[in-house]
Symmetry: C2
Subunit: 433 residues, 2 copies
Amino acid sequence: MEKTLNVTVLGAGTVGSQVVRLITEKHDELAARSGARIRINAVVVRDVNAPRDFAIDPALLTTDAEAAIDEADLVIELIGGIEPAFTFVKRALSRGATVITGNKALLAQHGPELYELTAANDTDLYYEAAVAGAVPIVYGLRESLAGDTVNRVIGIVNGTTNFILDQMHTTGASYAEALAEAQRLGFAEADPSADVDGLDAAAKCALMASLAFHSRVSMSDVAVEGITAITAKDMDEAARSGHAIKLLAIAERRTDDSGVEGIGVRVHPTLVPLTHPLATVSGAFNAVVLECESAGRLMFYGQGAGGAPTASAVLGDLVAGASHKVRGGHAPRESRYAELPILDAGTAQTRYQMRLRVEDRAGVLSEVAGIFARHGVSILSVAQKETEDGQKANIVLSTHTAREADLEAVADALNKSNAVLAVESTLRVEGDR
Amino acid sequence: MEKTLNVTVLGAGTVGSQVVRLITEKHDELAARSGARIRINAVVVRDVNAPRDFAIDPALLTTDAEAAIDEADLVIELIGGIEPAFTFVKRALSRGATVITGNKALLAQHGPELYELTAANDTDLYYEAAVAGAVPIVYGLRESLAGDTVNRVIGIVNGTTNFILDQMHTTGASYAEALAEAQRLGFAEADPSADVDGLDAAAKCALMASLAFHSRVSMSDVAVEGITAITAKDMDEAARSGHAIKLLAIAERRTDDSGVEGIGVRVHPTLVPLTHPLATVSGAFNAVVLECESAGRLMFYGQGAGGAPTASAVLGDLVAGASHKVRGGHAPRESRYAELPILDAGTAQTRYQMRLRVEDRAGVLSEVAGIFARHGVSILSVAQKETEDGQKANIVLSTHTAREADLEAVADALNKSNAVLAVESTLRVEGDR
């Protein structure tokens, strides 16, 4: 007879209720796969009487997290946010319970303390569900690629912003209209700031960078720009030049100006050629491209959010965690031997596409080009055309790859130049150098 | 100080020499990640004087496999084929060594015996490199999706045939021309039969099905059709109807005519809509789509062959295997609790697109349609046109989904019908039901 393991589920929202349902319905399969009978000892909620997607046995519902955790062999944390999740997870780890969490914000802010608690108590911490839902990118980086050198991770890891940008791209909607539609369909929250300001993607970017580069990377290391400034006009111009606009999380191994090897981490809306695999990732789907020294380019693609897909990631971790409890062994521990420094975002090599409104007179293009030249930024292409009122001209300019700081200095100087009435948009470009 | 583990590498061909190079060059990183110093105790070859891609320390080269294996903590088998690989792997497992292999044929033919030896000797068997090179599909199925129910696996898992079909699609080349080009570039062997007859894909299909459905599936269970009969005309007609032709490995959980739940496994050239993610997988790349109950649709994409990509998969397994040797625990063992039966291929639900040359006279279409109707196969679309000689007519027919056996019976009956001069091609269709 298999050993029975107690599992406490913290939170019974969209993901938590699916996890409870699957543990119940798939009891025999989970036992055959993990070698342990999984018994839910408690489902911890704020209000035992709140309505739920799945009818959870009322005897399991409790508000007493401490008592539940103290009985558990494994704790699944799906509350989200920092507190009380942080306190609960620390309690579970301190008591030697295996913790499975989908909480990217908690890990990106307090990862080191949690990893140390995990090691000190000889237990395991799993978080496949924290990055890109059902897409097994944590497994990929932490296990499959353990023998390779990852040079770059580029991902669409936030379904909300991808849905909004996709709506704008396909329907010509404004940002506000697309956001409203996303909220109506449940793809965006009432307060969408964590998603649209890029913070959720930044937390995931930090987690992927930590795993890829065997170093500590926290959310505050990530240079972040959200999608709130993207206009229908930007979308239109992007399509015209054969691009889609995607919010990309980019983590790369690179050197800075003085040759120091380190890590660059950034999240920003990006022009991606329509022929690039990431350009075709639509709606609430996620995808992550890994550029590796030996493996070359790999891509993982799937549903990045939602109750059942995220629950699939949690249950994969549950089988691994339960199996280790009964058969011995451990999940990989935090790997930070490389101790690569985080490099200044200004030293990143990027490309810009800029849209300028300029005075309609002779010599303007030469003045604009002069500003680029003075900052050592080489221009790849220029297209000039009149605006509707016939009085002012638009210029769309693409640069060659240059230092991010030099590109920012160009944008500053353009803003101050008399010839330039407005820098209407500045977007980075990836994928077609 | 870390423990030192002896690793024997069997074979120093394209993959083996890359594995030896990486173990040497990445010694410190592999130690930091696995907790063990990896020491190559021997590289076993047939001829120690043969020229190699990478200059292997001559002191390591030996033809004495037995002596090398008997000293090893881990054995990496990259010889390929059944013998002597089978004998060597059995010897290694019997002595408690962890085995890492890229040998799909060996696993698809003798997997059960090897899994039993692994368990009996309390050791580990890894084979990420056996399916789709650097694409971590073994990890995905064996670990990430351990908590989900996989319903279907559809993959492009043979780079040689994908390159040939891609050449035919993009250049209009005949099969023979495209094969010659693949051989010239080193993508196809002098005797290409294992690839072009679909046997390599069938072995991988069996391995993926075993993992996905927690049941034993061997290569002989797979219904196989290769690509040698595909003509330039087929490619042309496929493009005309918005499809690419891909050699797909399909493993599915389904029921047969009497409602028995089981496994269907087949490999055949298939029409795939150009909008489907698998249609854009070009050249020697591999991709696998998983359809899962909770996770929904996932896709893994990357380089399916080649020295360095395959070595990346081997080294990922090496880190896992070495880590278990020093930190305890095991790789997942064979999981076959579900014991699903292999269903008759004739009970699969497929769709056909057929090209017929028919007599150019009134009533022919009605006779042809009658044959479909008599076998209960419903026609989705028919296009009729004259051939160049103006004397005979061509019909391109697409069916709705039907039993494979009924579709085969239709093809037989058409071949015997007076109205039909020739059934010029019969291709299955996937992905746009």
